[in-house]
Amino acid sequence: MISPAGNHQPSSTPAALIAFAWTLVGVPLVYGLYQTVKTASSLFTG
């Protein structure tokens, strides 16, 4: 983190924040992948 005065202070990034951020981008990505694989499968079945 950085203080208002601009000095860098030691900080750690909460694991929960990292997990939340990856989940937030991961869930839509998995949804998109699933839907696309479903569509792509018609190439082999349709």
Binding site: P10, S12, S41, S42, L43
Partner: protein, 468 residues
């Protein structure tokens, strides 16, 4: 142009202990949103009907957005590097979201020009700023694995279309009960207007989240165990820096411009025509052995390879080097294009495999170029240099479809074309890839005269606990 205090670079310098794995999701939050631009085909037919106009008049919206992407990335690149990723992501979010909202208004009021202005011009500016905004930050956080880092972000751009296509269909189904997404049904204009409104608001929140969590490393920070002198031992990798203004005066910049232009033009040649192309390759008289649903599946498969190639090939470039990986994209790509033109119509599986690998090289080319720029020009203004290079994308976005469509127009009518009709266009692409291959061969380290003067050395801060 000054930015409000909370957006400035100085406010987001990470302190010791910061975990750099928070940066890729910040970048993905932006790229997953702006990648929607490749999902415009979902509502194209609805807009043609709503505005009672031609497919070309609607297709122009996409072209304007891509041209604005290149222009804004080139114009605002230096501003992005100067003000940092939070200011850039915030600005991109505002433009991209406003583009949708103005576009929604245009659809709701039946004013096509508002759609051009909104989604095309305003949204296109958001696209350009958003595309380059996290790239230089990721390169700075991952100096040991720049290909992996940029691959992750730019993979998100490919992933954005995978999300937006089915999501848009489901939302339009919700807003227009008469539309069920099956072939032949078209959603109403008001459903598309509501879709634009929804996407505009959702993308705003998502992108602002990315802007909120992004951080830049301190100037003297470097990951534990990373020794720039070892990286320097690799050919073409510099520890010097070149400004964006000087970079465009170097031969290397223009060689990479040619490389990107050729690689993208060749890929677009297939992507633009994917569905009709596979049907035409296996046409017997007026009917094709490949059904329309299977052709749609082929488009989906290409999207997966486009996205996967961005991550896989860009990451591979960290191990084998940037110049060799472009030898693969352009050299192997050239061979695959020849095979596609000659034996592509012999079996569907051969056609599908060849096209899929070619498209993975297309995606890989996009994702690896920022790391290539960083190798040659350093990290100082790599975002601005990347922005200027993206004009090659804009040019390819015009040239690729133009080459394919012009050739096909001279060969016959859509619905009656066969594999042989594609051959001239495919061999033009082979020629382009050969030009790109030679351009890549000619890339040499940047001359010392372009390097920035060295600043006073400072002791690096090694992090032990969090950087993996």
């Amino acid at each position: 142009m000054a930015v409000p205090g909370f957006l400035t670079r100085e406010r987001i310098v990470a302190g010791p202990g910061f975990n750099r794995w928070l940066i890729p999701p910040a970048a993905l939050a932006v790229h997953l949103c702006i990648g929607q631009v490749y999902a415009t085909s979902v509502y194209k037919a609805a807009l043609v009907k709503h505005f009672d106009t031609s497919l070309t008049a609607i297709g122009i919206i996409f072209s304007i957005a891509i041209v604005m992407l290149g222009l804004s990335a080139a114009t605002f690149g230096t501003w992005v590097d100067r003000n940092g990723p939070r200011a850039a992501m915030f600005t991109a979010a505002c433009f991209w979201s406003t583009g949708f909202l103005v576009g929604s208004l245009g659809i709701a009021t039946g004013q096509l020009w508002l759609l051009y202005l909104g989604y095309g011009v305003i949204g296109g500016i958001g696209l350009g700023i958003g595309y380059i905004s996290p790239v230089s930050t990721l390169i700075k956080w991952f100096p040991d694995r720049p290909g992996l880092a940029t691959g992750m972000a730019i993979m998100g751009f490919g992933g954005g279309a995978l999300i937006a296509s089915p999501l848009s269909r489901q939302l339009m189904d919700l807003y227009d009960p008469a539309y069920d997404g099956t072939a032949g049904t078209v959603p109403s204009g008001s459903a598309v207007a509501l879709l634009f409104l929804t996407l505009g608001l959702v993308y705003l929140v998502f992108m602002l989240f990315g802007a909120f969590i992004v951080r830049v490393p301190a100037d003297d920070w470097r990951p534990v165990g990373f020794d720039p002198s070892k990286a320097k031992q690799k050919a073409l990798v510099t520890t010097e820096n070149v400004s964006a203004g000087n970079a465009i005066k170097t031969r290397q910049f223009w060689l990479l411009w040619i490389v990107l232009f050729c690689n993208v033009t060749a890929g677009i040649g297939i992507l633009e025509q994917a569905a009709p192309m596979i049907q035409d390759f296996f046409r017997n008289g007026t009917t094709s052995a490949v059904a329309a649903t299977a052709a749609a599946g082929f488009v989906g498969l290409l999207s997966l390879f486009n996205m996967g190639g961005r991550f896989v090939w860009s990451t591979t470039s960290d191990y084998i080097g940037r110049k060799p990986i472009y030898m693969v994209y352009l050299g192997v790509g050239l061979v695959l294009y020849v095979l596609l033109a000659t034996i592509g119509s012999s079996a569907t599986w051969i056609f599908v495999i060849l096209a899929a690998v070619i498209i993975s090289f297309y995606g890989g080319g996009f994702a690896t170029i920022p790391a290539y720029l960083r190798d040659l020009f350093g990290t100082y203004q790599v975002g601005a240099i990347h922005g200027r290079l993206l004009t090659a994308w804009s040019a390819a976005g015009v040239a690729g479809p133009l080459i394919v469509n012009t050739v096909l127009d001279t060969r016959g009518t859509p619905g009656e074309l066969v594999a042989g009709d594609y051959r001239p266009a495919l061999f033009i692409m082979v020629g382009l890839l050969a030009v790109g291959f030679v351009a890549n061969l000619l890339v040499k380290p940047v001359a010392e005269k372009w390097h920035e003067p060295k600043a006073a050395p400072s002791a690096p801060t090694q992090e032990a606990s969090t950087v993996r």
